[in-house]
């Protein structure tokens, strides 16, 4: 079975996004499991800085060679930064999903909201359940 990197210090969603919490600002991307499942990423569509995102609602789109997938906001808030490099280098999502492949930064509406996200151990369980077929 494939190996998936799941850093302990991050929070996760059931939709395979990761969240790095730094005070009232969180950074968001897709997990190693997600990028491996998707395959070569060729296009990432992100919202504009200043737009509002709502937890559980799509905030963007990620496209691999074969498929289009929605990106779901892990928390609610305002987009304060987007990774503009992904326009020219969508492959960063494959090469460095927790680093250069980050997608957006959000200013939290509710500082306690990330507490409801999965920790690394629970997310690992979620991944393993789906990779047992």
């Amino acid at each position: 079975m494939a190996e998936y990197e799941i850093p302990n210090e991050l929070r996760y969603t059931l939709e395979d996004e990761w969240v790095r919490v730094e005070g009232e600002r969180v950074t968001v991307g897709v997990t190693d499991f997600a990028q491996q499942q998707l395959g070569d990423i060729v296009f990432v569509e992100l919202p504009e800085v200043g737009s509002a995102v709502e937890r559980g609602e799509p905030f963007g789109v990620i496209e691999s060679v074969k498929a289009v997938s929605d990106l779901y906001a892990p928390v609610s808030g305002e987009v304060v930064e987007v990774n503009a490099d992904l326009a020219d280098h969508p492959e960063h999502v494959n090469g460095d999903c927790y680093g250069d492949g980050w997608m957006i930064a959000i200013a939290l509406t509710d500082l306690s909201e990330p507490d409801g996200l999965l920790d690394a151990a629970r997310y690992r369980k979620h991944v393993e359940e789906r990779s047992q077929e």
């Binding site: 060729v42 296009f43 569509e45 789109v61 691999s64 060679v65 289009v68």
Partner: protein, 360 residues
């Protein structure tokens, strides 16, 4: 729901790290490592595909060739033994039942290589419309098929077999041993690059696959899945049944005129009638002028209104931009025409171009 079928190489594919997806009733590898890497391997060196899901329908007996001539849009009676032609099986309305390659085995024998999704439909169609004296046999179950594609294909094949040799012409075939197994090898393919298709008894697939992989790796060969097969065929603007072609499409609308003979085949009259009435639409290739990926089903727009539909679209790894095929009114099919593709809520600029997108 019926269970998915697997080719005899399924376990090997899994060991190679393949991600498998359902395709035409089979569980097939879509990629091993990366569609982009596999695509590049075929354009630069070679790729090996298991396409054993495809079907083979044999016709034999005194009525075999007459049946082929009647059933397929390309000339079959004039096809010499050892040669292959591409053609269409058409219905009475001039639509496409399937697109096939016809292999002339002998004076009174030939076989059609058909799409996996259409094997049963084609078999019933052929049995129903074959001429007197033709025996029709579906050998899909026991026939395996490997596609060895890319500029290094001939060199790879030469490493495992003295046969058939680099002298084999395009659209020719011959029978002989490949890595110790009896094979029928044709210089054909579905990638737009040079290459061979190797028909084997299903039980012989594994040793031949392994031998070709071992011989080819040092030359840059990679095992390739259906993902790369799709981007490769799209760069070559080769139609895919169910996308560019279906039971209602005229082969002439699809731009396949050169595979349609003047008459004397099932569907010819309807095709001529539709042609005389003027083509309603034409298949055109386009390149996106902006970022994004056009996908099958997206609208093609011109002058603020929908004028057609994308049938296939993908990023072209060779060109570094997105390409696609779609049906538009004939007046808008000329290269240079500016259109837009409706990608979600955006209208993305695109230009009609001549196909193939990538020449090899």
């Amino acid at each position: 729901m019926s269970a998915l079928r697997r080719t005899p190489l399924y376990q090997l594919h899994q060991k190679l790290g393949a991600r498998s997806v359902p395709f035409a009733g089979f569980e097939m590898p879509v990629q091993y490592t990366s569609i982009l890497e596999e695509h590049a391997a075929v354009r630069r060196a070679a790729g090996l595909f298991d396409v054993s899901h495809m079907g083979q329908i044999h016709l034999s007996g005194p009525g075999a060739v007459a049946s082929g001539e009647w059933l397929v849009s390309c000339p079959v009676a004039s096809l010499r033994p050892g040669r292959v032609r591409y053609g269409l099986l058409c219905n009475e309305a001039g639509g496409v039942v399937d697109d096939v390659t016809v292999y002339r085995l002998a004076a009174d024998a030939l076989f059609l290589c058909v799409n996996a999704s259409n094997v049963e439909k084609d078999y019933r169609w052929i049995v129903r419309h074959a001429r007197e004296g033709a025996r029709v046999e579906d050998r899909s179950e026991r026939c395996g098929l490997l596609a060895l594609q890319g500029p290094a294909s001939a060199a790879v094949l030469a490493r495992v077999s003295a046969f058939p040799g680099p002298a084999m012409k395009r659209f020719a075939f011959a029978e002989g041993p490949v890595a110790g197994a009896h094979a029928l090898v044709s210089r054909t393919g579905y990638t737009g690059s040079d290459g061979f298709e190797i028909y084997l008894e299903a039980g012989c697939l594994e040793p031949v696959w392994n031998a070709l992989l071992d011989a080819g790796r040092p030359l840059g060969l990679l095992p390739c899945g259906l993902g790369a097969r799709d981007t490769l065929r799209l760069e070559a603007a080769l139609p895919l049944y169910g996308h560019e072609l279906d039971d209602t499409t005229s082969p002439l609308e699809a731009g396949l005129d050169r595979f349609v003979k003047a008459g004397g085949f099932l569907g010819a009259e309807a095709i001529a009638r539709r042609q005389a009435a003027g083509r309603a639409r034409a298949l055109a290739g386009f390149v996106l002028d902006e970022r994004g990926v056009a996908r099958a089903g997206y609208a093609i727009r011109h002058g603020g209104r929908d004028v057609g539909t994308v049938t296939s679209g993908a990023p072209s790894p060779t060109l570094g931009k997105s390409i696609g095929l779609g049906y538009v009114p004939p007046a808008l099919a000329a290269p240079g025409t500016r259109v837009e593709i409706a990608i979600r809520e955006r209208a993305v600029a695109a230009s009609i171009v001549t196909t193939p997108f990538v020449k090899s």
